[in-house]
Each structure stands twice: as structure tokens, then as C-alpha cells.
């Protein structure tokens, strides 16, 4: 099977910006891979950043 990371996995070394954090009108968040256009109804609130930083931002959003 796939030997490289999936769309919602960190890159092998996770040093490059690969992901975004999106938000919709309901205040729900989504991790999103940089390689696809942001779907309608969502906007970027963080990134492009490494996977790790996106996760950190989701765990600890700014007040």
C-alpha cells in the first residue's frame, strides 16, 4: 500500500509546510492538505505550516 503519508498525515520529517487549518461558519475546524484547493464554505485560519504546528494550533487556539 501507500508508502508515503496520506493527505492528513505528517510528512516523513515534517519540516516543510504541508497543511492548513480551516474554519467554517459553525466554528468547526479542519486540517487540510496544502495540495488541494480550500473547499467552498471554509477559510484558512492558520498555515501553510508543518503538520505538527497545525496540530499544536488546534490543541491550543489563540484566545
Amino acid at each position: 500500500m501507500t508508502t508515503t503519508p496520506g493527505p492528513f498525515d505528517p510528512a516523513v520529517d515534517d519540516t516543510e509546510p504541508t497543511h492548513l487549518v480551516l474554519e467554517n461558519a459553525l466554528g468547526e475546524y479542519s486540517l487540510w492538505p496544502l495540495f488541494r484547493r480550500v473547499p467552498e464554505g471554509w477559510h484558512t485560519v492558520y498555515g501553510p505550516q508543518t503538520y505538527g504546528r497545525c496540530v499544536a494550533r488546534l490543541q491550543d487556539p489563540p484566545a
Binding site: M1, T2, T3, T4, G6, P7, F8, T18, V21, L22, N24, A25, L26, E28, Y29, S30, L31, W32, P33, L34, F35, R36, R37, V38, P39, E40, G41, W42, V55, L58, Q59, P61
Partner: protein, 1295 residues
Amino acid sequence: MRLTAAQSGMWFAQALDPGSPAQNTAECLEIHGPVDPSLFARTLRQVVSEADALRVRIIEGADGPQQLEVVEPTLPLKVRDLRAASDPDAEARAWMREDLATPFDLAAGPLFAHALFRVGDERWLWYQRVHHIVMDGFGYSLLARRTAEVYTALAAGEEPGESPFGRLADLVAEDTAYRASETYETDRRFWDGAFADRPDAPNLAGRTALPSRTFHRRSARLSPEATARLRESASSMRATWPEVLVAAQALYVSRATGSAEVVLGLPMMGRMGSVALRVPGMVMNVLPLRLTVTPQATFAELTRQVVLGIRAARRHQRYRYEDIRRDLGLLGEGRSLVGPLVNVMPFDYGLTFAGARTEAHNLSAGPVDDLTVNVYDRADGSGLRIDYDGNPALYEPDELGAHQARFMELLERIAETEPHTPLAEHTIARHAELTLVVDEFNATAHPVPPTTLIGPIEGQTVRTPDATALVFGDQDLTYAELNARANRLAHHLVEIGVHPGALAAVAVPRSLDLVITLLAVLKAGGAYLPLDPDYPADRLAYMLQDAGPACVIADRADRVPASGVPLVALDSLDTTPYGTYDPPRALTPHHPAYVIYTSGSTGRPKGVVVPHAAIDNRLRWMQAEYELAPGDRVLQKTPSGFDVSVWEFFWALRVGATLVVAEPGGHKDPAYLARVIREQDVTVCHFVPSMLQVFLSEPAAAGCKGLRHVFCSGEALPRETVREFGRVLDGVPLHNLYGPTEAAVDVTYHPCATDATGPVPIGKPVWNTRLYVLDAALQPCPPGVQGELYLAGTQLAAEYLGRPELTAARFVADPYGPPGTRMYRTGDLARWTEHGEIEYLGRTDHQVKLRGLRIELGEIEAELAADAAVGAASVLVREDRPGDQRLVGYVTPSDTGSVPDPEELRARLAGTLPDYMVPGAILVLDDFPLSPNGKLDRRALPAPSFEGSGDGGRVPSGHREETLTRLFAEILGVPQLGVDDAFFDLGGTSLLAARLVSRVRDTLGAELTIGTLFQAQTPAALAAHLDADHSEADHALDVLLPLRAGGDRTPLFAFHPAGGMSWCYSGLLSRLDPGQPVYGLQARGLHGEGELPSTMEEMAAEYVEALRAVRPHGPYRLLGWSVGGVLAHTVAVLLQEAGEEVELLALLDAYPSDQWRDAAVPEEADALGALLRMAGYDRTDELTREDVLATLQREGSALAGLPDRTLTAVLDIVVNNARLMREHDHRPFEGDALFFTAAAPRAEDWLTREAWAPYVSGSISNHDVDCLHPELTQPRRLDEVCAVLAARLKELDHA
């Protein structure tokens, strides 16, 4: 002359199947103009005479195959005028097809054939067929060019120029020189280095096959416009159009196979020197091109990879494909080096025959192993022609056509797209397929009212207050009664802070109270959080701390660990002051209805929060689809911690039907389930597929014809189970459902036809639900192509409780749904069928389902790795015998120097994880096996040893031994087994024992009980038993019962509990070292004869004598459960007094005589209870001996097969033992004792192990086992006991 390396490969391939025409290559040149057939024949004779490489036959000599020159062959040329035929071209094609199916005889030759057809006044077809061993594609072009040249000259009356061809001998010499050269070594090293990790070569079929004798071909043309744009695009990337085509094919293969790494095969000319370029012969080679296709890379970047890869390959193109496979060791494994071949033929013949223009058509390019994409660029400006040749063993013509059509559309889109956009923007699905899989298959919109899970239940109560809502055993409640009781509790819950949005944990075993409590929580507006009382305290404490519920409701106070969460203990709560009316509440469909914890990959379980709207949709769909009605009775048997239980609990109550609640533990017992279904007229029930399989093998299952619907979910449903269902329950509808907790139980459904074939689909989406099968670029996969399953729509859970990062990574933006909506990423692999159903294909990650229970292996691995002695840990599910899946753990030692102890690790896991997550075996390895690219090679991890002695043992003698040996091996799933291999040593379980007994019954017609297996555990012993036609249980009732006589360790003697029998210790066998002998000591009077002993001392003395018969002197190892513990202690003291060493005294929940002295001596009625306890059951309502026997039979107890006189004897023994124990006076034992406490609360709360203190000089080391006294010898408890016991025995072995 010998063969070249290139020819040798073909010779071997032909030798494998001499009659095969697969190595025929053929071409047809269409000539638009007049042709003179005799001149043409003359031309061919001249060209053939010039091409000596063509003019050979091949024989097998003493030193291998040799090619011999045929100096003047007869020219095989057929000339036909087909102008009179109704369709001359068709006639010609039919002839060619037939000719193409004719194999050449290599030894006879010639290895070529020609035909010339006149299909019009000015139109001719020149057909030639050549064996691939003498000609390749480039060779064809040399021959065709020379033929045109000679014909044109002759037609003009001129002498043709000198032959341009090189000699075959030169080719052979060049080949010989190459193989001895340094270049050869350099090339070998290059390919070795490039493929050292032996990458998988994914292909579109997903499997491999030998080449067939023929192939399917589908032809298509790319439009001239797209062809032109591709050429432009190629040059803008500084690449050639064939390179762009290879890149496009790599993209297609990568997406269609779900693999980022692809290896394409590229046929290459192989002609490096000037000699080879002039010889029309067989030189070509196929070379592997390895590419990585990621969604973020651009098409230009992929093309660059192709350009560089081809450039490198070309430098080493003379090294043979067969040699690379051999070097990598792929030959022996039958593995292929490459996936599809892309064969680009840019030879633009553009030939003329005396001025007449021509068009070339390839008819066969040689054998097709898998798939060959042939691309021709002919000179007529009509666009690229792309032929898909497929091996019929792997591809149906339609599949081939579907792949081709998608590839053609992909090429069109690539031609139109800016090459610097990410590959993720490309889908491999055709436009029509996208509409199908995204919209048409998902047309599930259905309006539902904005209600909650509880509202419709309250509505139903008003409609049918007197209907029976709930049945549990002999208790039942009407809708009105249930509602009133739930309301009273609900008012109390409201008072203590349960409200919409709040959680209330529920730790109540299956009962009326459980249903009442769940309803009460919902009525109060809260969401319920089920806590399975069987889970370890640590896990319950974690869930309480993680979820922070407003309260925890339990049937009694000691059900849950102290947590600071307010406790509602139902057994001490008086709800009568509260009202029976529905409590008012501000509950909306968006509020959470329940929170269920699932296994988490990072080592922490996570709470899935499911809103009312989600589960309400699910139940409304279910009602519309299956129409449950008053009179229907739904069985509630799934533990509340698993979400299948949600529809079981609430569906019936919303529509006026009746809910039948199974006993706690009843869901694991097929005989019980069959009885409940029959006796309670159950019409609807659910099974996890593996449990359904067990259920169907229960004879009583066939009596459950009153069922109207049986639902399956939780794991893949095998087709064989569906068929078996049809045989046992003919006419009962069976439904396969699928869904994760994260999408409100189920999102797909499929009615199972019992006569269908192939994998059982999980089906279509339910109401207001969309399913997407997406590839690595989040692009939809067309039908038939595997991808990851995503779910969207009303049923999605709200979140993982308190885990925003996990929520945002699993519930992600949905690019295909309404703006701003989410989709849930399941981690399941799936594909669409043509009919809009989903087939489940496995997992993308390490989550597994074992008996329907969802397990993250990562969670177990994290727990193992947390042990200081463990360096690294890996856990997998093995199926070393068919149908018997087991969790197996692997660990390596850490740097601390201490070696991990498997038994300690298992004990550790049992303390924190639910039973089903504790691996059955843990293996300690020095290192993990790694694949060449440094990853853990899971396939190389060793199986735990449950192996038979194989040929090491005595061979079976006689029909019975032979049959039994075969049946043992079959049931245990071991390839070989000796007649002296014991069933339980080889991992036999009670379930497997039941299967064995039934197979023996069917095969040999011999009546047998599981009990017989205890006394005759080997095929030899069982055969002897059957031969002697023993009355059951003969030797099994002797004083000394050899449970396992073999082994080199110090034997363990286990003393019987009150009933006098030691069968209960058979469970020790598979849990202790196979070299550990185990003997049971049993009461003297079991045969029903003789006096019973009159003192404990007398009994003990007799046992000392019995055990000295097998072990005359110490050290001794003694163990006893219950009364057996008292006996073990007494025997230990006697042995010590006789000067012997006793190195182990293990007491299983046994208490000294002093503690019993004042307790009443039991009567026969109590003795019945003791008999049940000995079989591992708590007494419920059995009053008479007949009741007890019925229970034992129903539970499949080994004791059920005992003759009457033995049962009578057992009852006497129980009473006698109780008396002796009360009269006994203990003397002190010098040494330590190992103690196991059945730690669940008991009626005899005065019992304490401290009472041993005067009689044990050393320490008493205690281990609590969370169970009741009778449960201590049940398998899962024995796991815990033996984890400690085995460790202690091992220490003694090493001391």
C-alpha cells in the same frame, strides 16, 4: 551458434509452453497502390536472404539451445485476391487472426511467415508474422524499410543497393563481449543499487498471473488536437511526448492502485553499438522505471522524474530484464519487477512501395504478462494510437476498456492543464464516472422532522401505554410502567445537574434498570456515557476523568472506582418522591445523545459525541427500511459500550414493539441465545459476523425460524457465513450493515442474497448520507478502484470529546458536499461496485477488528512500550489457523539490561486494557525483522509456537487414530500433528473443543462429550478410548488425574475443590509452559464406591501416597482452589514433616479451616451449588439435581456427561468435605505462599487471607483477580492467574 542473452529468455519462455503462439509478433502494412505479387515475392526472397538473423531454426543441443542458419529457406508466402469477398478487409483480418494463433516450431523453422492480400483494386495488405526470438520492433522497421527499398528498385528495373544489414554472428559476438565486459558489471551494480529494496510493482489487476496464449486488445486514438497540445506541453517541459505519456501512465497507475510508488516497464531498443543498429534481430529489452507519484508534486515534476529515470536506464539498457529479476531473487518468488509496460513506438515508417504510400498496423507485440500500453505515432497526422493489450487471465475486455477510456480522458485533461499545477488537481475518473460516484450513488436526501432520540419514545408511550415495552427473564414492563420509572429517575438526575449538553455516565449491567437508566438520562436532556462494568478500574477511571460527566449512575456503589464524580447508586436510591411525568427540558437535535469511547491509536481511548439528529436519522431510516411493528420483539444483547446497542435499545421503544433484554454475559453463549430467541419469540436481532458463525454451528439455531430480520455489522461478513445462514435459517432475511461509531452506528446497508457469490458488499448509503471513495489526492475513485472511504451527511458525530486536533484531522472539510460541511475519514479501504454499493476491503492503518471489537494496535503497543524493560513493541492480528484470529505482541528488550517477561507484560496489560485487547501471546525478540528499506517486516515476525510434533511422533496406526489425527490438525489449524500431541497443549480452546467433538461425531459416528477430551487429549488416547467403548469418564475419575503427564519440569499437583474433581484445572495447560507436567488430585469416591475419608489428615495422607507414585521425592509444587487450597496446605505440611521440600504452595481463594468452623455445614441443596461452582457457574434458580444437570448441559459443561452415580457421589463428597474442613486443625507450613483473591464482593465477607498467617511461616504474596470465587478457573481469569503463576514457576525452574 549460441543464443544471445535476449534470445535465451524467450527460448525458456517458449520451452515452458511449446504449443503457445504467445511469442508470435505480427504486423500488417497497408499499401495504397498497385503491387506486383511476383515482384513482391522476389523482393521478400532477397530481403530474407540478406537477413541471416531471421533465417534460423533453434535446437536444443548438449550445451543448451543453439541457432542454426537455414541457408535457402522456402519462402512462406500466401497471396490471395479477396476483392470478390463481401468485406475483403474483414476476410483478411480473420485469416490473420487465425494465422497469429499458429505456433512456430522452433526446431523446424522457418520462424517467419508472409501473406499478401489484394483487398481493393489499388489496395494491398502485406502481413508478416515472426517469432519474437528472432525479431524485435526495431528489427521490423529495418526489414520493412529494406523491403520497400528493394521493391521500389526492382519495380523501376534497377538493381537495389547493397544490403545494409549486419550479421547475426556480429550480434552474438557483441553480446558475448558485453557479458564479459566491465560495463556489464557496472550495469549490474546500477540495477542492484536502484532496486535493492525490492519494491512492490503495483498493477491494475492487483494480482499476477502467467502469460496466457493470447491477449485482449482495445484500441483508441487521441484526438489530433490533444496530440498536438501534448507535444507542445512536452517541449515546454523540455521533454519528449513519449516521456509525457509515461508520466501520465505513472499517474494513472499510482491512483488506480493507491500506491505512491510505481514501477513501469519500458521496452527499450537495447542497441548501443553500431553493429546492433544494423541487425534486424532480437535485441530489445524491458527495463524497470521506478517513479514516486505524490499529490503535491506537479505534472512537470513527475515528467522530470521520467526524463531523468529514462536517461539513467538508457545508459544501462543492455543489462537484461531477466537478469535483474534473478539478481533480486524475484524469480523464485514469482514476483514481478514491473507493473504495466508502456511501449512507445515512435518509428514513423512513412514508407513507399514504388511510390505507393503505406500505413503500418501492429497486430501483436509479443507476450503480455500483465498489461502493455502500446503507443504508435504514425505519420498520417491522425493523432496517437493507443492500444491496451491485457493478459486475459487478469483483465476482462470491459475492464481493459474502462482503464483505457479513463487514461484517454486523463491525457486530454493533462493536455489542457498547466503542467505546473499539483497532480492533486487531476482525477483518474471520467467525467461521467464522477457524476455517478459523487451524485447518483449518493442521492439519499430525505426530509426528516427535527426530533430527538427520546421524543418519539415518549410519543409512543402515549399511544400504547399498556403494550409490553421491556422483557428481562421473567420480569416485564409496559410502556407506561417503563416511562414512569424512567421519569422518576430523570427528575432526580435533573436535580443533581443533568441537563441538555451534560453527560451522565452509566455503569449498570444488562437488566431492566439499565434501560430505565438510559431513558432517564435522555429524558433529563443529558447524553449518556456507557461504562462497561467488566472493564479494568484504570480504564473506567480514565474515562470518567476524561469525560467529566455530571454524575455516574451505577447499580451499586462499588461498581466504579472512586473518581470525585457524584455517584448515583440505584440500590440505595429512593425515587418514589419524584413525579412520573415527562420532565421538561430544552433539548434540541443538536445536543449530544450519547458519548461512546473507542480505541485510540496514540494509546488513549477517545469519546465520540453523537448528536440526537444523527441517531434520530439513523433510526428513522431503519424504521422506513425494515418496518418494525407492534408484536415485533428486538433482542438487546450488545454491551452498551458498543454503538450497535444504541438501535437495539431504542428502535423498538419508538414504534411500540418489545425489547427483550439478554442476561449479562448471554451475548457470548450461542445455546442461550437460541433459547432466548425461541422462548421469547424474538423477531429481530444482531450478530457480529464471527459470533453469527458460532451461533449457526449451534444445533438449536435452526429452531429460530421466528426471526424476521437478522442484522450483521462490526466486521467483514464472509460469503461462507451468508451461505451457512441460508442453510440453517432458510427464508430469514439477513442484512449486512456498516458504520463507525463516528457516524451514528451504520451508514450503509445491503440485503444478503444467500445464493450470491463474491465478497458481500456493505451496501448503499442510508438516508441523508453520502459516501466517497477517495484516492491519496482526495479525488473520487471510479467504480472498481480502491480508495479510502469517507462519510458525510446528517449522521456524523459532533466531535471527539476534548480532542480538537483529532476532531479536525478526522472530520475534515468536504470538497464534494454543500459548502462548509464536513466528511469523516474512516481509515477503511473500499471500492464502489457498478451498482452503487460499497465493498469493504480492509484498513489503511493499524486499526483492526477482532470479533467485531475495534482495536487500535497502537494503543496496545503504547502500553507495552511503557514497560521499562521493553525497547520497542509491535502488535498484530495473526490467523495462523483458519478462522482463529489472535492478537500477538512482539517486544524487544530496552537498554536497561532487563529482559521483558511476557507473562508480566500480559498481567500489566490486563490491568489497564479490556480483556479483548490483551494479546494471547507476547514474544520477546532480540531485534525486529526489517525489510531492505528499513521498515518493520511484519510478514517475517514469527508465529507463536502452537505446533504439533509433526513427523517427530509415532505414526497413526489404525483407522481411528488416523482419522482423529487428521481432525485434530484440521481443527487446530496445524499442518502436521503426532498421535501423541495433546489438544489443549496445542492451544485448543473450549470453542475449538466443541468443534472437534462435533466433527468426531459426524466423521466417526462416535458419541463424545468435551469431558472425554480432558481424559483423552491425544489422538492416540482418544482412539483407544473409543476402541474400548469406555463408559464416559472412567480414568478421569481416578484419584490421580494426569492432566499433562509429559514434560521435564517439576510437576505441579493441583488439589480438587469441594466437589472432589480436578477437571477445572485443564485450563492451566495451555497457559503454562508446555514442559510443565500437571496432575490433578481427586476424591477417592468419585466412582461411587467405597467409604469417604473421615478426616482431612486421612485424605491428605492418601494424596501424598498418590503423588509419590509419580514423584517419589521433592521438591514439590502444590496448588489448590477453594477446599483444594486447604488440602494443598495440609499435604504440604505432611510432606515437610516427612523431610521433603515443598517449593511452591499456591492458594486460589482458599481459606483455612478456622474461618469455616462456625459456618453451617451445607446440605444437599448447597452441595448442588458447589457442583455448579466447580463448573464455574454461580447458582441462579436451580433447585433440583435435574435443574443443575440441565444448566450444565446448556452451558456445554464437561461435567454434563457424568454418569448418575458419579453425580450422586459428588454431592456426598461436597457434604463430607465441608464437614472435614470444619473439623480440621492446621499445622504451620514452613515457607511462602502465593495467594490469589477473588476480589469481587462476596456474601461471606468475613473470609480473609490474613487467617493463614499462623499457618504460613513465610510471606503470603497476594494477587487480586477481579471476579467471584466460582469464576476463578474461567479462561479469562486463568489468564491473570497463570500470568503470575507461570512467572513464579519459571523462577523456580531457574533457581
